[in-house]
């Protein structure tokens, strides 16, 4: 049978059989419904007689297995477990029988969200009984801002928001199902529903002691509508029994056995592999290429050029056009690709960029009028009165996500349907791209989600899907698995924008700042130019001006573990250390006093974080020569009375005389807000982000030469290893009175400023350009 003859049905059955034969639990693999079953009120796959779908999130089998559909993607942050916990808390099912499964992005394109999920209950960030402040943005077909009334509300995984945005409707989904199960049992027994309770999937009639299980009555409950769903309420943190407890991640047993299916592991019958080379200079495309050299190579099936992916599908970012080779095996495709000589058509103005002239352009932008974001008091008058003026200029380089799994996607295009198998932080956008490129309606696009081998930024994964869809569209009927080399991944990713900041403060006679001027510079399409500095200064200063300065560069930029925040926190906290030093004051007490002088709503929480971290670290106790402590506050959102995440960290750092830096110990004081869903995942996030920002501080930078990225593999772009892991990480949680803004990023940005300040304390040298590892840090 040729590839073209493999029918959809055979292909899918084969996929399921492969899974069964290998004994592998195909994690989250949603096997799409048959094409001919798409009409009618319900797709065939949830009329399976052995399982009952209670609502779009919950399916209960006769053996009490509860399948919970997950609308976000698992990329290491633990959403596979935390989303399931939020549903199971309310469902009151047996946690040991919970199995997560990816929600269907196709069904999301077809169905509207249930009415009862649309309204957020309660009074915002400071109401423990409410749903917090989820943000859905406006309806947008590309899914950029979510599609607020589609079935799963939001399927993107971004902005550390899976718990923040999803908690209320996931709890509601669990509660709606529980109430229907209870109603069903009460009706069966002919007793008032108030007399039945549920725990661990067992329903009990209190008076008679009669019991049944969810599995036994799920079929009936599936057909029992909720009489008034608008009355459903969710549990507040004081009622939680599962949420708030440490739960091991449900996919870890598969992860340690090599059984998880990432995008790269997808195998579809008849599948061919594609290797690609895009123009290394963004905006460039193929001028000419010759495929003659590869025609006879083993396994090679075809070769093609592809254009620059439509910027409308890549959020305006302009990548390169390139060449693809399709072969039976990926290594054959890659070997052939390397034999093709390609002449590129590169815009000369792009080829003229290099790191040095880009840095000059950012510096020059400081002297042009910028966009003034904040202007409080009278900054110029205050500077005139200042006893001392401190000024410093900092820089941060281009940085990629460099996830461990290189970009890939498997795509099958037929005349009426597209299937995409991919690890994806924004399947709604990919669905849109597939439809636009192929002309097949979104309702016939199936984005089948896989786990990701690292994510670190929703739109950071570049045009992996768009390239694969273009190639597969040219090979209709044949599934194409595109896989980037590591070098290609460095071309295809988006970067956090290279940035600079110039900060200037005027101090009074006691060393307190009376004027602060902050200028930040990055390319005009950089993300989050306002981050961290956008409202009143976190540290009290009566006269404050903040402006953004921009210039035009060609590098495609995107989110990377947050937006501008990580770089801006480095600027701000580094400068605070410099001010404390100039004032002759202790860096912890200087910060503490300046927060105490503000009227910020969460200032007591911020002070507590500083106090706890300082106390944990033994702040002020003598250290051996060559070792120093540095402190920083970390918060997002705490300038308002909305949601926020607040922590403080003290980093104990040593520098050897020959300049070797060691992060010896990290003491973390972290708020819980009203409650953390899975404190174990939160600890892992904090530990991981300490390493992440350690790498930003010490090692990582991408430079530009003749318009292209220079460091394009892990020999030149350094990842720290276990020998650089801090031997001691202490985390202490403290309770606060608001919902958290999220844990997925900005949780250890302080590593950057702290290592810099420790280097200064030990060596007397102040470095303001990251990464420090490229500097001479030796001392005598």
């Amino acid at each position: 049978m040729s590839e073209n003859e493999i029918s959809d049905v055979n292909r899918r059955e084969f996929l399921a059989m492969v899974a069964a034969a290998q004994g592998a639990f195909i994690l989250g693999f949603w096997v799409p419904p048959q094409a001919n079953a798409q009409s009618g009120p319900r797709p065939v796959w949830y009329q399976d007689p052995t399982t009952a779908e209670i609502n779009a999130w919950i399916v209960i089998s006769p053996d009490d297995t509860v399948t919970i559909r997950i609308g976000q993607s698992e990329l290491g942050q633990g959403v596979w477990t935390s989303n399931a916990m939020m549903v199971a808390e309310e469902l009151q099912c047996d946690w040991n029988k919970v199995r997560p499964q990816y929600a269907s992005a196709n069904r999301d394109a077809r169905e509207k969200a249930p009415e009862w999920t649309l309204k957020v209950m309660g009074n915002g960030a400071t109401d423990p009984k409410g749903g917090g402040e989820p943000g859905f943005g406006n309806r947008d077909r590309t899914g950029v801002s979510g599609i607020p009334d589609s079935l799963y509300r939001r399927m993107r995984t971004n902005a550390a928001s899976s718990v923040k945005d999803g908690r209320y409707y996931l709890q509601l989904a669990g509660a709606e199902a529980r109430e229907r199960l209870l109603l069903t049992a009460a009706q069966l027994w002919n007793v008032p529903v108030a007399e039945v309770t549920a725990k661990d999937s067992i329903i009990t009639h209190i008076k008679s002691g009669r019991t049944t299980t969810y599995g036994k009555i799920a079929g009936r409950a599936a057909g029992m509508p909720h009489p008034n769903p608008e009355t459903i309420t969710i549990k507040s943190p004081d009622q939680w029994t599962l949420m708030g407890t440490e739960r091991k991640n449900l996919d870890v047993p598969d992860k340690v056995a090599g059984r998880v299916v990432y995008g790269i592991d997808v195998r579809v019958p008849g599948m061919k592999w594609a290797a690609v080379k895009a123009c290394p200079v963004y905006g460039g495309k193929v001028k000419s290429c010759n495929f003659d050299a590869i025609r006879e190579m083993p396994g090679v099936r075809s070769a093609m050029q592809f254009p620059i992916p439509d910027p409308a599908l890549t959020r305006g970012r302009i990548f390169g056009g390139g060449v693809a080779v399709v072969a039976d095996h990926w290594h054959q495709a890659k070997t052939a690709l390397d034999r093709i000589s390609i002449e590129w058509d590169i815009p000369p103005e792009h080829a003229a960029f290099n790191t040095a002239n880009m840095r000059d352009a950012l510096l020059a932008s400081f002297d042009r009028p910028g966009r003034v974001r904040v202007n409080q008091g009278n900054v110029d008058d205050a500077f005139a009165r200042a006893v001392k003026v401190v000024e410093a200029t900092y820089s941060t380089p281009y940085l990629p996500r460099a996830r461990m799994e290189p970009g890939n996607a498997t795509v099958l295009v037929t005349d009426d349907r597209v299937d995409v198998w991919i690890g994806d932080q924004s399947p709604q956008e990919t669905r849109f791209s597939a439809s636009k490129i192929t002309g097949i309606p979104e309702q016939n696009v199936y984005v089948n989600l896989c786990h990701l081998g690292g994510g670190f930024g929703r739109n950071g994964n570049g045009p992996q899907a768009e390239q694969a869809i273009m190639i597969a569209n040219a090979h209709r009927g044949t599934p194409i698995h595109l896989l980037w080399t590591r070098e290609e991944d460095f071309i295809g990713t988006t970067y956090r924008a290279m940035g600079m900041a110039r900060l200037k403060a005027g101090l009074d006679s006691e060393g307190w700042p009376i004027a602060l001027e902050v200028r930040t510079a990055m390319q005009e399409d950089g993300f989050g130019p306002e981050s961290s500095f956008d409202v009143a200064s976190r540290y009290h200063v009566p006269n404050y001006r903040f402006s953004n300065h921009t210039t035009k560069f060609h590098v495609p930029v995107g989110t990377r573990r947050g937006i501008g925040q990580a770089a801006h926190e480095f600027y701000r906290e580094s400068f605070m250390n410099e001010l404390a030093h100039a004032a002759g004051k202790d860096a912890y007490r200087y910060r503490r006093e300046l927060i105490a002088r503000t009227s910020l709503p969460y200032k007591e929480d911020m002070i507590r974080a500083l106090d706890i971290a300082a106390e944990m670290s033994g702040w002020g106790k003598p250290l051996p020569r060559g070792t120093a402590r540095a402190i920083a506050l970390e918060e997002r959102g705490a300038e308002t009375n909305r949601m926020a995440t607040i922590s403080a960290m003290v980093h104990t750092v040593s520098v050897s005389r020959d300049g070797k830096v060691k992060l010896e110990r990290v003491d973390v004081a972290h708020e819980t807000g009203f409650g953390l869903v899975n404190p174990l995942s939160v600890k892992k996030q904090i530990e991981g982000q300490i390493i992440w920002f350690y790498n930003d501080a010490m090692h990582q930078a991408n430079t530009i030469k003749d318009g292209h990225i220079v460091e394009n593999n892990f020999n030149a772009f350094r990842l720290s290893r276990i020998d650089e892991d801090p031997p001691e990480i202490n985390i202490r949680f403290f309770k606060t009175g608001h919902w958290l803004l999220g844990m997925g990023h900005d949780r250890a940005t302080s590593v950057q400023s702290a290592i810099g300040d420790a280097i200064f304390q030990i060596t007397g040298k102040r470095f303001r350009d990251l990464p420090y590892g490229s500097q001479d840090l030796s001392w005598t």
């Binding site: 991640n249 340690v256 195998r267 460099a402 461990m404 081998g453 690292g454 590591r486 390493i691 892991d725």
Partner: protein
């Protein structure tokens, strides 16, 4: 040309170019996908497997080099995912995204087989794989626990 390979105790006759990296033969021809591709230049260790008990970065050796030798992948260290090192890994809930963890476990296992009671310094010099999520803190604890569990296993 056919390559005779012994992978996890099973003999495979593979029709592939002998210059193909061992990683791609394992993933694409044998069909075991637990071993991962990441850098392709032997830097990160995501592709680590054992060849005659020695840890090898399989992206950077030719498959022909493994002919006549015992190849062990993550799928081959236990049938049920409960090798003591896997038990220890689970105890600390070690993985985040998990992509590097197969290679990480294979490197750590090679160390433990050579040095049943490794010091932190031993771990630093032997487990040189890269993890982007930053799970090193739990990996170190898991290796020490695995050492204990493997000793217990021997006593039984």
């Amino acid at each position: 040309m056919a390559l005779d390979l012994n992978v996890n105790g099973t003999r495979h006759t593979i029709d592939a170019d002998p210059l193909t990296p061992l990683l791609w033969v394992i993933r694409d021809y044998v069909g075991l996908t637990g071993t991962k591709f990441s850098c392709g230049i032997g830097q990160c260790g995501a592709c680590t497997v054992h060849v005659d008990g020695q840890p090898v970065r399989s992206c950077s050796v030719q498959a022909s080099m493994a002919v006549g030798k015992r190849i062990t992948t993550i799928e081959g260290i236990s049938t049920d995912g409960n090798h003591p090192i896997q038990v220890a890994w689970k105890e600390f809930d070690t993985p985040q995204c998990g992509y590097c963890q197969s290679g990480m476990i294979m490197s750590a296992l090679a160390l433990l087989q050579r040095r049943p009671n490794p010091s932190d310094a031993d771990i630093n010099s032997a487990v040189t794989n890269a993890c982007r999520c930053g799970t090193y803190h739990r990996i170190r604890q898991a290796i020490h626990l695995a050492a204990e569990l493997m000793k217990d296993g021997r006593r039984q």
